[in-house]
Symmetry: C7
Subunit: 250 residues, 7 copies
């Protein structure tokens, strides 16, 4: 009871520390991330890979409208997990930053610079009163100076660079799988395979192509590209993750 | 008791997360939507269909003044469910965005663009303090590049695209009916029929024409059009949903 | 006890939803309307009729100063029920909107446009923090394009059009009477009669002329006109509602 | 206990409605008025009369400094009851409005216009947050178009016109006396007599001239005029209200 | 317990009325005045007299720095009691008003005008949120049109004019003494004597000159003047109020 | 329990009075001063003396960085006790005021003027909401018109002038010592001795030179000067306050 | 229970003092610092040394992205401990201050000036409402006028200069070690050794090079320089702190 009363005090005011130096609202925003469906990012020798769980509330929802992977700039993609409307705000912010960079300096924004612009924005919402933190984690990936880069933004506003990562529901199990299976000499195909396998770790054994989103930014073209359903189906099939018809009818 | 006290804490401050990562005020705004009478949207090969329950508190109310379907632009309609005065604000906002687009770019606003302008506006009211969320869900439908598009905006500020959807009182039962009966090769007539049948799922077996509103935006004319009573009566009659006189006199 | 504590939470913050999706402050503002003396509006073939209960706290009050019916523009009248000082603010706002319309567009404002300007204003006070809702309902009536129009504004900011309506103390009984007796082919005289009868439904059997206010906007002159006491007395007498001297002396 | 807890909730936030549609802060401001010494206004055929109770905390207070009747403009006086510092603010506001009117339109402000300017100002303090209502009632009286006018402003911001009225401590008893004794054919002398008698209803049987303030605005001169002590003494004597020396020594 | 809980509610919000129409924060500010050492003002035929208790916390304090009497303008002095830092703000405000008057109108500010400028300023802090009331009472005295004037400002913002008054610790006893002993034909010498005697009523029987401050504004010179220690000692001696050495050594 | 609950109410809102007329936040800020290490100021015939306790948390701290005495202008020094970061803000404010004075009037700021600029600044933080009071007391000393002046600023914003004073931990004992030993014909050397002795009253019997800071502003040079360690050691030795090596090794 | 309730009161409002003169929010921010991994700073005759614990949550995190040591300007480095996103804000602020100094004065900013700019910024967040304090401590080190300088900023906004210091988890044990082992004639190599040994005091016995960050600013080049892994490995090996393979495999 005492613990609960104490906790309530910190819940009400968003911008204050608890006696043990924690920011509860930021930690609760992390819970909002955990409530979201999973997103995976993998860095390979050929480029970065995004894979996301796009399962939706009703078959009547147009699956293209389930926004989990976004193009931030020609050479940068962003996958998200958590509060969807918050994710949209951060994506919009990222796109504006990319355009401003192009206009001001006549060149594409770096992946790291873009990530840090976004995390600075996120941090403001954790310190200044009158608003709540963003309840979303982003995976920001792309090509910078010919090299693939892969970042995470968390609700406290910390940027971190990863070889491979997972956010959203089932993160712990997925990260464990990635740590076991990731090799830094993977190519794009291998990265897609690892990403799909990792998605299956946290829940379903098999997916329909429509339930999955996959995108890449490769070092050759430096272009963000979302894979069509048939390509996704090939990969699912290759990794024994394709839902069979019987399953589908169920 | 403990649960209740905890919940109160989140009720008071609108822009904060609960320990499990939820935004209670947004969820309560969804309850306001559920308290509203039903609105239906169906996408067909020929265009989009809106059908709404216009039953009113008194027979003395002029039924044209029961605002459930609105013209946002020549080629876009919006149906709403929930807090009526909030809906009016969002409709006004949508109309302004449509006009601004016309003035700035000399062309009609896209259905998706308009929807996302509205959801960005909605999201602000869920994150920044000093105001409450909008207690309304909108169905935004119209023609874009010759194709019918149909979107939903929810109180958290998430846009989603649907083949057919229902908002307001009885949503679950209505969505179930739509999932069972919707076919993507339906024409406008079929869509109107499905919409009217779906309205009857959640409550009444039959309607007077005056209790129902129907509107369409077809791909040929790209014009928003509200159906007159006699047309509605024909459809109700065709689908055995027309209230007979006996019922009327009751 | 639990219910009461919960309710208090919503009372304190005006712009938040309750768990069941209601806005308590708006509902309490409706109670303020119910505490006000009754006002009636009736739409007839010849024009609109307003009738109000002007009984006052003391015989020393100058009855002209009991403001229940107001001229908003030459062709539009407004009757009110509820918190009197709030009503004055909305009337002033309506008059300004009418003048602005005249100045900007060189023509009289429409009854519907004026009503919606007012309800938009009302809605703001229910969503944005730092103020309370208006505790008043208005009946806005007048002539638009040669046709009589009759609207209600409620404390949530919803406009609705009526054939005949009542606001304030005794609304339910009065609406029931109007629903039973209203005919859409009534002329102005009949409308005045119906309005006076309806006023008597909720309380007194008879009135002195000084206790009643009546005004009309007819389609011919399109002029707001308050009836003098002798005309009111004739109508009261005609409908057997005139207080006799004995009653008066009592 | 329950009632008290509930009441506290409304006390804290000034701009909110209680579940029964009341504004407690405004009602408490009315209590501040009741705590003030009485002020009387009487309208006669010859002009308006103000009479006030000027009894003070100490005989060392200069009685001219006990501000209960104020000149708002040449032709308008204002008497007050309630929180004295608040009254001063409203009087200042009224004087400014009178001057602005003179400057803008080159003519004296009307009594009704001035009253309504003041009540609009008062209403703002009851709806918008960040301030409390004014704890004062004013009697505004003067000559307009050759006719005497007499108004009251209450803490909710409602203006009302009276033939004769009383505000402050003992209002109920005083109003009752006025209702019994007021005649609309009274002349100024009669009005002064009635006002003095009414003051004595709520408390003391007799007054020293120094304890009373009397002022008039007559239709002939249209000038606000405060009566000197000897005139007041004559009136007190005429109406058997003059404190005899024995009483004085007590 | 009930009373206490209720009281707390009013303590927290400074700008609200209690159910009985009181402003607790203003009343508590009056307590701050009572906690201050006493100040006396006396109006005589020759001018105004200020006398103050300057006893200080330590003999190491330079007694000139104990600010209890201030020159507001050449012809106006101000004595204070209560929260010292608040007094300094009001004195500064008064001096600015005096200078502004001189600059704008080319003449010295009137004592009454200055007092009312100050009380208007004080009132704002009792009505508008975001600040607390001033915890100080001022005695404003000077010459206006050749006549001595003596005013009080209280924490609610009410100005009042006195023949003689006392503020601060022991006010009741001191006022009683002044009421008994004051005569309106006193000269400056007599006024100083009365003021010193009054100071001794509330506490000490005798004073060292250093513990007392005395100032005057006389009608002849119209100049504010602080009396040097030897003059104060003469007066103390004359009125048998001078502390003997034995007392001093104690 | 009752007392505690009541006290909490005043703790939360910084700018409100308690029922007995106190400002708790200001009193708590005084506690912050008492938590700080001691600072002493002594006024002598030759100038002012500052002495401060500079003991620090770790021997690794560079003792010059322990800021307890500051140069505000060439001729004015300031010593502080209490919340260190707050002190820095007030020192910066004082330095700016000194520079502004030099720029505006082409002359050095007076010690009293500077002190009052600072206390006005402090007072604002005790009356206006949105910030807390400064938790620091300053000793402001220097030469003005050839005379040494020595002031204190306290957290309520009251300036006071002293012959000698102490602030911070042990103030009562130190003030008592100063009252016993201070003579107003002391020269600078004597003042330094008294200051050092006073520092030892509240705690340690002996000091290392590094643990003490001493500064002076003498009437001859009118320059602020911090004493080097060897001079401090001489004084400590002269007054038998120098820590011997054994003590040091302990 | 009493203590806890009292504490809650101070937790909620960030800018208020507790009855014993403490600022709880600042103290809780210090707890946030203690939750961070350790950072060490050592001042040597040749320059300043930074050493930090870079252990991370997952082996998939790119270790360069673990930001613990930052270049603030060519000649100044900053190491941090505590809330990472807050540290990033202060680093950005420091870099801007360095650039502004270069632009305004055409010269490099001093280490002390930069530190105090940062602490002034930090202090604002502890006094003015609407935001929380920064939950981070910084070690600011560099070369100023040819001399190494080493500062700490704490969450209250106090700057202090050190010979050697540690912040973050295990500070007490590490400071003790530094106090025992620090010699002011150490060269850079010795400083690096001491820093690494100190890191090992608070936890691990041995480190992989990848788990440690080391940087220097030497007096010769006056350039901030981060050591490559092989140099770190050499130092770890030299001081017997290198993790062996067996440990690594564990």
């Amino acid at each position: 009871m005492q613990g609960q009363a104490q906790q309530q005090a910190y819940d009400r005011g968003i911008t204050i520390f608890s006696p043990d130096g924690r920011l509860y609202q930021v930690e609760y925003a992390r819970e909002a991330v955990k409530r979201g469906t999973a997103s995976i990012g993998v860095k390979t020798t050929d480029g970065v890979v995004f894979a996301v769980d796009k399962r939706y509330q009703s078959p009547l929802v147009e699956r293209e409208s389930v926004e989990k992977i976004h193009k931030a700039d020609d050479h940068i993609g962003i996958a998200s997990a958590g509060h969807v409307a918050d994710a949209r705000q951060l994506i919009d912010f990222a796109r504006q930053q990319a355009q401003i960079n192009q206009l001001r300096y006549g060149e594409q924004i770096g992946v790291e610079t873009l990530t840090k612009d976004v995390t600075d924005h996120i941090q403001q919402y954790t310190q200044v009163g009158g608003a709540r933190p963003f309840g979303v984690a982003l995976i920001v990936g792309g090509i910078e100076d010919g090299e693939p880069r892969l970042f995470e933004t968390d609700p406290s506003g910390v940027p971190s660079e990863w070889q491979a990562l997972a956010v959203g529901s089932g993160r712990s199990e997925m990260l464990e799988h990635l740590e076991d299976e990731y090799r830094d000499d993977m190519d794009l195909d291998g990265g897609i395979g690892l990403a799909l396998e990792t998605l299956s770790v946290a829940g379903e054994d098999a997916f329909a192509a429509a339930e999955i989103g996959v995108a890449t930014v490769d070092v050759e073209t430096e272009q963000f590209r979302e894979l069509p359903d048939d390509e996704i189906e090939s990969y699912l099939s290759e990794y024994d993750l394709l839902e069979t018809d019987e399953t589908d009818e169920e």
